[in-house]
């Protein structure tokens, strides 16, 4: 039995190692650094198309969106960082150009609230499971219980 258990453990350990190795290699990217176009696309897909509501500039073919994409590409080629480009877009179009709101200030709530809620709910579940766990020892039998049993037994016997 214990030999079987050990074999089981070993097989899961092997599985974990293979999986971790594969994911490690798989998460390392394909080596080549992103091209300017790819970087511009990444930045533009986190920015709203100025004339639509929820479409990103990268996905929209509205003329205003094209202008944003061109501007982003120009600045990427000029060597600006993502932060600089986003700051520029905010200064030109206002903060609602960003599709992922900044993590500071009021808009930080939209990031923090779900995390806090999930943490609270998970903690609540953990507490509930602890409370539900069946007691190790049976509860002591009270005199009242004994009396009830006595009475029931008396009823049984003629």
């Amino acid at each position: 039995m214990s030999a079987g258990l050990n074999a089981q453990r070993l097989s899961w350990l092997a599985l974990g190692l293979v999986l971790a190795g594969a994911l490690f290699v798989g998460s390392r990217g394909d080596g080549s650094p992103p091209t300017d176009e790819e970087r511009a696309y990444t930045i533009a897909s986190a920015v709203r198309c100025p004339t639509c509501r929820s479409q990103s500039a990268a996905d929209s073919d509205a003329p205003a969106a094209q202008a944003v994409v061109d501007e982003v590409l120009r600045r990427v080629q000029a060597g600006e960082t993502e932060g600089q480009i986003r700051a520029f877009l905010v200064s030109r179009y206002g903060p609602d150009i960003l599709l992922d709101p900044p993590k500071r200030g009021v808009s930080g709530l939209v990031w923090a609230l779900p995390v806090a809620a999930v943490a609270a709910a998970a903690a609540g579940l953990a507490v509930a499971f602890r409370r539900w766990r069946p007691p190790r020892r049976p509860a002591p039998v009270s005199a009242e219980d004994r009396a009830l049993v006595e009475e029931a037994l008396r009823g049984e016997r003629p």
Binding site: L19, L23, R53, D61, D96, L98, L99, D100, P114
Partner: protein, 665 residues
């Protein structure tokens, strides 16, 4: 003519709903069975009113009766027949009419299903709640969203036709009705939930009776959401199918809570626990359909789909507030009866997994709801205008989605109450190894990206668990001589088929959002460009005048093979041209072409958008599998009485969780 008939029909429906409510209320107060039976019959008059109103609207649309404001704004003589018919749900007032029609249909089905139990107070209360919801929608039609309002001033001789986006693809005939069959269907379980609270019969009886209604509504909503994604992909022309747009989120929210309910309801059936939670999920599902209607129809969040600003918003918001307030009050009032004595022995058990599943779906719902309304909240708090879009939703929901995939893989293998390591090993080892092999194989084949690999791995794990269950079920059925179809029907087996569909959709979602490539090329006739191993050759552009639009069509050859024709459609009365993409669909990847800009005068170069996206077609196939699984799950599993449901308190349908045969592994 149509206006008079339609207005009369709306009045008839409203009067019947109110009279039915009054009769049922009186009958419940006096305990008079004749009044209860009579009250239920008003449902049929409500249905008649809704059908007549819809018929009057169709007549007005088909005869181009421009004396009706609605037809004058959404009809035109040049619109093809199909889009004239679908014009009924192309704008706010007509959509409310469709909602009322579907609701009346559901109420009639409910009255028919429970006709032998009309005198049962729980049925009477449920009918009363259903009629109250119907009355609300008829009031909307009688007041601020009147589809039969007459035009002020002279009657126009022609109209602009429906919104160009809504007359560009036949899917508009299927997507909205499917979605409404889903949304509105949740009214029935909600009505029974309130009825159970009011009557105090909070056992598991009402759950058993409304389970299948929820399942049907869920199936329609699933199909509606997937069709919406498909429609978005085929019509909107930006290459995507899901943009976390408020309208899309509004359809996802009730789907999430309903999915949570379909799982947690099993804990209540088995262990008589989670009563308050399940009631809350049903209430949340129904109220989220109303909230979604408010968000999308009031113009409060403008989006590509929202039709117009209107006075309807405050009324729908008020109705939403009433639903939530009444439900919370009722749950609070019945708090003592709702307390359940049960306990969950171990988190590593089926019920423990369902709780984790519900935590995941609740978190998902919270993220989507918060992200959707947050711009409003922020603006109200300090006047700050900001957007919450795709990057936010993707980053927040990806970990939840992966967790849910993991639970989907593990939960079906967990026994109720408590799992031993022995059982876990026996049931999970092979699926886990298959998943690991798939991940390792993909990495070896050059696939990169942690998120996508996790999605593929966990998806394979979940699909393997589901397949294992189905294989055991088939083997069990063969041994016991039951039909092979029986092995796939019933809630658990159908549910496993749905799981496989979900995995297919999730894998397609992960692949297409991680590995898409898109670019625009300015091409002269005969010139080619290549992207991700595909060569596109631009041939020429031609312009054709059609009945309701001017179409500019480019001809583009893909990989030296067939010619595809992305187009731009200019509708009269529309400022911007609407693109029609042309898609070369394949099992492994789609090549998606759009005509971004036709040749300018004096030039012959056109701008062609090219996107290569993997596995897109599997989104629709996965959706189909989910719909099939829902049908299998709703299929009667055993010898159940054909008419009516088992009496309240009867044990629920027995499901084959794990066939009682030795499992050789």
């Amino acid at each position: 003519m149509s206006a008079v008939a339609g207005t009369a029909a709306v009045a008839l429906g409203l009067a019947a709903a109110v009279l039915g409510m009054a009769t049922l209320a009186l009958g419940l107060k006096r305990g008079d069975p004749r009044l209860l039976k009579g009250g239920q019959r008003y449902v049929w008059i409500v249905l008649a009113g809704a059908v007549l109103a819809a018929a009057a609207m169709q007549l007005a649309l088909l005869t181009h009766d421009f004396s009706l404001n609605y037809v004058a704004r959404n009809g035109s003589r040049s619109t093809p027949l199909l889009y004239t018919i679908t014009g009924m749900w192309s704008a706010l007032e007509g959509s409310i009419l469709l909602w009322a029609l579907v609701l009346a249909g559901y109420l009639a089905l409910m009255a028919r299903h429970f006709r032998d139990r009309a005198t049962d107070p729980i049925v009477a209360w449920a009918t009363l709640v259903g009629l109250a919801v119907a009355a609300f929608f008829f009031i909307l039609m009688a007041g601020p969203a009147n589809p039969f309002k007459l035009v002020s001033g002279p009657v126009p001789t022609d109209g602009p036709g429906p919104n160009p986006l809504l007359q560009n693809h036949p899917l508009v005939a299927f997507h909205p009705p499917m979605l409404y069959l889903g949304y509105v269907g949740f009214t029935i379980p909600f009505a029974f939930a309130l009825a159970a609270l009011v009557t105090g019969r909070l056992g598991e009886g009402w759950l058993v009776e409304t389970r299948r209604w929820t399942l049907f509504a869920w199936g329609f909503l699933t199909a509606g959401v997937i069709l919406g994604a498909w429609w978005s992909y085929e019509v909107l022309g930006w290459g995507g199918y899901w943009a976390w747009d408020p309208v899309e989120n509004a359809s996802l929210l009730p789907w999430l809570t309903a999915t949570a309910y379909l799982h947690s309801v099993m804990v209540q059936e088995r262990r008589a626990m989670l009563r308050v939670w399940n009631l809350s999920l049903l209430v949340a599902t129904f109220s989220l359909t109303i909230l979604g209607t408010f968000l999308t129809r009031s113009g409060v969040l403008d989006s590509v789909h929202a039709f117009s600003e209107s006075a309807v918003g405050p009324m729908i918001l008020g109705f939403f507030a009433v639903i939530v307030a009444v439900s919370i009050a009722l749950i609070g009032w019945r708090g003592d009866r709702l307390r359940s004595p049960g306990a969950i022995d171990s988190p590593v058990s089926r019920e423990g997994a369902f709780l984790a599943n519900n935590l995941g779906f609740a978190a998902f719902t919270f993220v989507v709801l918060l992200g959707t309304v947050f711009p409003l909240i922020a603006e109200a708090l300090n006047g700050e205008r900001l957007s919450v879009g795709e990057p936010y939703f993707n980053r927040m929901t990806a970990p939840i989605g992966l967790t849910l995939l993991f639970l989907m893989a593990v939960a079906p293998a967990l026994p109720w109450r408590k799992a031993s390591t022995e059982v876990l090993h026996r049931r999970l080892a092979i699926p886990a190894w298959i998943a690991t092999a798939v991940v390792a194989g993909l990495v070896a084949a050059g696939v990169r990206g942690l998120g996508a690999l996790l999605a593929f791995g966990l998806g394979t794990f979940a699909a393997a668990t589901a397949a294992r269950h189905l294989a055991l079920s088939v083997r069990h059925a063969r041994r016991t001589g039951r039909g092979r179809l029986r092995a796939l029907t019933g809630r658990t087996n159908g549910g496993m088929v749905v799981h496989i569909g979900v995995v297919v959709v999730a894998a397609a979602f992960a692949a297409s959002s991680s590995f898409s490539e898109g670019r625009e090329y300015r091409l002269a006739p005969g010139q080619s460009a290549s992207l991700s191993g595909h060569t596109v050759t631009y041939l020429d552009t031609s312009t054709v005048q059609e009945a309701n639009k001017t179409v500019t069509r480019a001809r583009v050859r893909i990989d030296g093979g067939p010619v595809y024709t992305p187009a731009l459609n200019q509708f009269p009365f529309a400022t911007q041209a609407i693109g029609t993409p042309s898609v070369k669909t394949g099992l492994f990847e789609d090549v998606y072409l759009t005509l971004v800009a036709p040749p300018a005068p004096g030039s012959d170069t056109a701008v062609i958008g090219v996107r290569v996206q993997p596995l897109i077609v599997w989104l629709w196939i996965g959706g189909g599998i989910m719909a099939l699984g829902t049908a299998l799950a709703a299929w009667p599993a055993g010898r159940r009485s054909r008419r009516g449901a088992p009496p309240a308190g009867a044990p629920s349908e027995q499901t084959v969780d794990e066939p009682a045969v030795p499992v050789a592994t």
